[in-house]
Structures are given as structure tokens and as C-alpha cells.
Assembly symmetry: C2
Homo-oligomer: 201 residues x 2
């Protein structure tokens, strides 16, 4: 079996992305694969495709919140539904792409740092003050972080990443692309594992 690349599309405000972010690296490592983390903005993708968050449908809302926490418990991941949900996460995502382009590997660590902060500790990523604190905890200069998320360069970079995701067929998060095979959702974990283990099925 050749080593593979896993494109892992996630959104900072997606609980299923958070759950998947907690198992994807270990799963990839077991199969000698490499994860390409890609921060996207689900809101923009939903808008482009006429989709909505499940919590925006009254009939699905209560179930969705129940399932976020239950699916996390099932995966052994600490998750408490945030009071404010969903939230705009473009600032955290711009920092991600800046780290990705400038400093490489730490971008995925930033992703996990923020996802855990929001979903396990209830830290509001859309609040610039909280995000500056998270940047500092992470070892970044908070003023520099703020200038990055206000910089048109990184706004454009995130927009381009989102457009590229849509062009690749991404319509939700988490979304995985392996050997050009698409897998949507935290639920596809077992299928992804089989794919990495034995190839196409």
C-alpha cells in the first residue's frame, strides 16, 4: 500500500469537524498517511450551494445538539455544546492559513487548539479579545495575530481556499478526500479506515 495524502477539510464552528480532528492524525499515522489540514468556512459554502446548518431547521435542531454531544462521548472526545453556536470563524481560519503558508506544521496545532477551546471550554472564537488570548496561549504575538486576521492577504487566501474546496466537491465538514475519493462526515471514519487499510472497496 502506498503512503497516502488525506485532505481534511474542517470548519472551526463544526462540532463534527472537531470530533474528527481528534482522531484523524492517529488514524493516518497507523496507515503511514499524511493529513493535509484545510480550514474552510462552511457558512460561505452553504450559502453558495443553497444549504443550511442542521440547527437552522427547527425539526432537526434539538436532535442535532443531542447528537453533537452523544457522538463526541461515543468517540471519547470532550464536547459541550457552546452557548453561542454557530459562530463566524474567519479570523481563526485566516490565522490557520497564515501559519500554514509561513510556518507549516503548526497550522494543524492551531486548529486543534481553537477547536478544543471552543467545543471543550466554550471559548468564543468570534470574539477578538478571546482569540487574542488564544493566540497568546499558543505562543503567538496577539497583536501580530490580529494584524494577520485583518490583513487582506489572508482574507483573500481563505476565500481562495474555500473556493478551491467547493471546486473539489466539498459541501460540508468534516470532508475528506483520499485518492480523489470523497468522504463526508465524522460518520465516515470506519469507511476511511478500511480505505486506508485495503484500498478502494
Amino acid at each position: 500500500m502506498n503512503p497516502r495524502f488525506i485532505d481534511f477539510y474542517f470548519d472551526f464552528s463544526s462540532p463534527y469537524s472537531y470530533i474528527a480532528s481528534e482522531w484523524i492524525e492517529a488514524l493516518a499515522a497507523r496507515h503511514g498517511s499524511t493529513v493535509n489540514w484545510k480550514a474552510i468556512l462552511l457558512g460561505a459554502i452553504f450559502q453558495a450551494a443553497g444549504l443550511k446548518s442542521p440547527v437552522d431547521y427547527p425539526i432537526k435542531r434539538e436532535y442535532s445538539f443531542l447528537d453533537f454531544e452523544r457522538s463526541a462521548r461515543f468517540a471519547g472526545v470532550p464536547l459541550k455544546n457552546p452557548e453561542k453556536f454557530p459562530i463566524p470563524t474567519q479570523n481563526a481560519a485566516r490565522i490557520f492559513w497564515w501559519l500554514n503558508d509561513k510556518r507549516d506544521a503548526t497550522a494543524s496545532h492551531w486548529a486543534r487548539h481553537c477547536l478544543r477551546a471552543y467545543f471543550a471550554r466554550g471559548v468564543d472564537l468570534s470574539d477578538p479579545a478571546r482569540l487574542r488570548e488564544l493566540a497568546a496561549e499558543f505562543g503567538l504575538d496577539p497583536a501580530e495575530a490580529e494584524s494577520v486576521w485583518n490583513d487582506p492577504t489572508w482574507k483573500v487566501r481563505l476565500k481562495a481556499a474555500n473556493d478551491a474546496a467547493i471546486a473539489s466537491g466539498v459541501f460540508g465538514a468534516p470532508f475528506f478526500m483520499i485518492d480523489k475519493e470523497p468522504f463526508w462526515g465524522n460518520d465516515r471514519r470506519a469507511q476511511i479506515e478500511r480505505w486506508l487499510e485495503k484500498g478502494p472497496f
Copy 2:
């Protein structure tokens, strides 16, 4: 662990319902549980709740068809995407409720007979001629079957079953209710199994 009842809501035109219909009885049997099969019309539920089938969103359509077949292969269930999809299935569903109310256990066998015919053999359940043939194969008098699906009694019965499903919080298929805990989707198989094995988590 007390024996449990599993309410299993399915739609005759839902590929994920078909896949689940192939494992639910064995899973229930392993845990001394009983399955209450409940035929619903997803189209009516979607309409009531402002939802759509994934194949009705252009961006999700191709992925959905790929995932129907791949998820079936993953579960070891023969499935070939039907040429005509989705289809209206109220006639098959009315026969289901008639069997359920009049003859009890054979209703779930009828469900499996029709789901397999549509998804493994491409038999169009919305075609009355095909449905009469399926009824005959199943050991029913095809003329009687046809009079049942045209009978206002069974139209009302199906409508009532659908309304009851919506009132119970059902918004998709397959949908499972165990100890009042809702589980949506063929994907929730592992969580259902854990619930039956060890109780709430």
C-alpha cells in the same frame, strides 16, 4: 439489561433505510430486543419541515449516489442505484400498514421484499404493474393488494403513521427510537449497538 423495543422508521425509497433494514433485525436479536417497523413517506415529512433530499442539491447529488453504493458495499448489502430515484412509494407503504394491522409480523417481510426489489434488482415500486407482481411473488392476491392501496382506509392509516412519526421528532430515514432516545441514519449503527449493549452513554 431489560429487553427493549426499537422503533425503526424507514422509507421505501431511501437507500440508507434499505441498508439499515438488512442489519437491524440481527442487531436487535443479539440484544434480545424487538423491532417495531414503521413505514413512512419521507417526501411528506421533508415537505412539512422544509427539508429536501440530498440528491436535490446539485452540489450533493453525485456524492450521494456514490455514497449510497459505497455504504452498501461497506455493510455487505447488494445495492445498485435505481435508474428512477427517488420514487413515490405510498402504495407499497399502504400495503405495509395493512399487513401490519391485519397480519402482524409479515409486514416487515414485505418491507424487506420491496426494499430489496427496488435497490438490488431495480424494480420500480411506483409502477402499479410491478407492485402487483411483487405482491404475487410475496404470496398476496395482487388484485386484493391493489384494492388495499386504493382504499381510503389505508391512505388514512399511512398519513396517521407519518403524522405520528413527525410528532415523535422523526425528520429523516432510517430513524430509530430506543428508550425515547432518537438515532438518525444508517451511520448510527455503532451507537445503537452500544446503547443496546450497555445502556445510555
